[in-house]
């Protein structure tokens, strides 16, 4: 049996375990052991600001995705099967469009001469085009769009398992629909909320293409810090240290969350 897994395992070891190990090594070793790279990451302004910004954006994206995703998952769960399949297909549809293609679409929609600005000017709502892209706003709009399916699917999966009888029991005991929702449905859907939020937050922490193309150079997320240190400045040690800190953040989040719910649920396997 071990022989059967070995080709796959070898690929994983050579192409992800070794490279990440290499990064970790490179972050602390350069002609001798040094913590210089980590000192820079934790004390220099550029790094600090980028980490803070990345966490802020990830929190905002997660909150918005939850606010937008919960009603959709709730609706999909409460309508007849045919409708829920339609709703879920619409949710998953963009999922199968390349992230690059969607970045392009958002540029087309949001830029100064883009669809939305032209439409608003046509309606005479605005006289000057709004700055909707090449800033943090555009990054968040496009990032939520990409990550929303990761929120809706675990929410829907969890809601599916909540027995309808419970809601009816609440109603028969005289609770209003909103009270039944708050006291019965919402608490029971929390594992799905946690799973969805974890996945969205963690994926957002490492986002690269969207902020690079839609952030206009001002929204420097951690991933861009890594790539710039490699491509522009040849600061391999610094890039590695940033990558290691990012990876540790992600692993810590997964570890903490796994105390509460099964990780299989977060990774969408159940």
């Amino acid at each position: 049996m071990l022989a059967l897994v070995s080709p796959a395992l070898l690929v994983i070891l050579a192409l992800i375990v070794l490279p990440v190990g290499w990064l970790a090594w490179q972050s602390i070793y350069h002609d001798g052991f040094t913590l210089e790279n980590y000192r820079r990451v934790f004390t220099e302004d550029v790094y600090w600001r980028s980490f803070a910004l990345t966490f802020e954006i990830s929190l905002a994206v997660t909150a918005i995705a939850l606010l937008l995703g919960y009603p959709v998952a709730y609706l999909a769960n409460s309508v007849p099967k045919g409708w829920s399949i339609l709703i879920l297909s619409l949710v998953v549809l963009p999922f199968w469009t390349s992230v690059l293609v969607r970045a392009y679409a958002w540029l087309a929609l949001l830029q100064r001469t883009g669809v939305i600005n032209q439409f608003l000017r046509y309606l005479d709502v605005i006289s000057e085009p709004l700055a909707l892209v090449h800033n943090t706003f555009g990054t968040v709009v496009a990032t939520v769009h990409i990550l929303l399916p990761f929120m809706v699917l675990p929410l829907y999966a969890t809601m599916q398992k909540i027995p309808n009888d419970l809601m009816q029991a609440g109603a028969s005991l005289g609770a209003s629909p909103s009270l039944t929702f708050m006291r019965v449905f919402l608490p029971l859907s929390l594992p799905g909320v946690l799973a969805g939020c974890t996945m969205v937050f963690v994926l957002c922490l490492g986002f690269y293409i969207t902020p690079e193309l839609l952030g206009g150079g001002r929204t420097v997320m951690v991933s861009m810090l890594v790539s710039r240190n490699v491509e522009l400045y040849n600061q391999f040690g610094a890039a590695s240290a940033v990558a290691v800190v990012l990876l540790i953040s992600v692993l810590v989040i997964f570890f903490v969350v796994s105390r509460f719910i099964s990780l299989d649920r977060v990774l969408g396997q159940k």
Binding site: L9, L15, W22, P94, V101, A108, V226, A239, L246
Partner: protein, 261 residues
């Protein structure tokens, strides 16, 4: 509860708006790709195929397309058997280490892709795999493996291993019984996993940005550079074709999965 209370109506409205938000960007690209305008204008002034012509007549885009298709095909050819073998072993074996190996095979989904990309770049730089075809294929095999493993494991869950025992008790060896009894029953999940690996390789951008170069640049890397420098509707034409390809593959995959029921 099915009465249209104000809360219910609000739910419909909010959900409809969210769905529009999800779908709109996917739908907007095709009209732009058929526009005659040099710059992004919507609605397009008139219908034209010039951006498709640009794409098909540009040697650089064509070379990139060949690279993408070759990489995606080779990825499927390698990742599918590797993933099937691994999933089979994980589901059949009772060794405790299998649990750990299972988790290791899902690592590409857990580690932020930018970290994987930079790490692979450093390793490739040492062994001379940067800007080569084998380097690109290997990286995509690694990234595609989890999809095959997850899909096939799900397929194996509904398969009764006793059937294979029966085949073996009738004198087949393990390998033959796998191909004669097990594989036909999990075929749909194998095909679905392979298709997901193909789409993953076709869409992969970040690792390619770091490790590909010269004549071995996939479509996504060229698109990324083009998007960063200047926006040209040629990208819309390519995007439309890519999206159409993805959707057809997904439909194929889900049709197969449904048939396995």
């Amino acid at each position: 509860m099915m009465r249209a209370s104000p809360a219910r109506i609000a739910l419909y409205v909010v959900s409809a708006l969210v769905l529009v938000y999800l779908i709109l960007p996917v739908l907007i690209i095709a009209p732009i790709s058929f526009s005659s305008a040099r710059f992004l204008t919507f609605p397009p002034p008139s219908f034209s195929l010039r951006w498709y012509q640009q794409y098909f007549s540009n040697p650089a885009w064509m070379q990139a397309t060949r690279v993408t298709l070759t990489v995606a095909l080779l990825t499927v050819v390698i990742a599918t058997p590797f993933g099937v073998a691994a999933a089979y072993a994980i589901s059949q074996s009772k060794l405790r280490i299998m649990r750990l190996i299972h988790l290791a095979l899902l690592l590409p989904l857990v580690v932020p892709i930018i970290i994987t990309a930079v790490g692979i770049f450093f390793v490739y730089a040492k062994v001379g795999l940067v800007a080569t075809m084998p380097g690109l294929v290997l990286a995509n095999v690694m990234l595609g493996l989890p999809y095959v493993v997850i899909s096939v494991l799900a397929g194996l869950q509904s398969f009764d291993p006793a059937q294979e025992m029966v085949a073996r008790s009738l004198g087949m060896n393990r390998l033959r019984s796998f191909f004669a009894v097990t594989l036909p029953q999990i075929k749909s999940s194998v095909v679905a996993g392979g298709i997901f690996a193909f789409i993953s390789a076709m869409d992969e951008t970040i690792v390619a940005l770091f490790i590909s170069g010269g004549q071995y640049q996939p479509l996504t890397k060229r698109m990324f550079t083009a998007l960063r420098d200047e926006i040209d509707p040629t990208i819309a034409a390519i995007s439309t074709l890519m999206t159409a390809a993805s959707f057809m593959l997904v439909l194929l995959a889900s049709a197969r999965q449904k048939r396995s029921g």
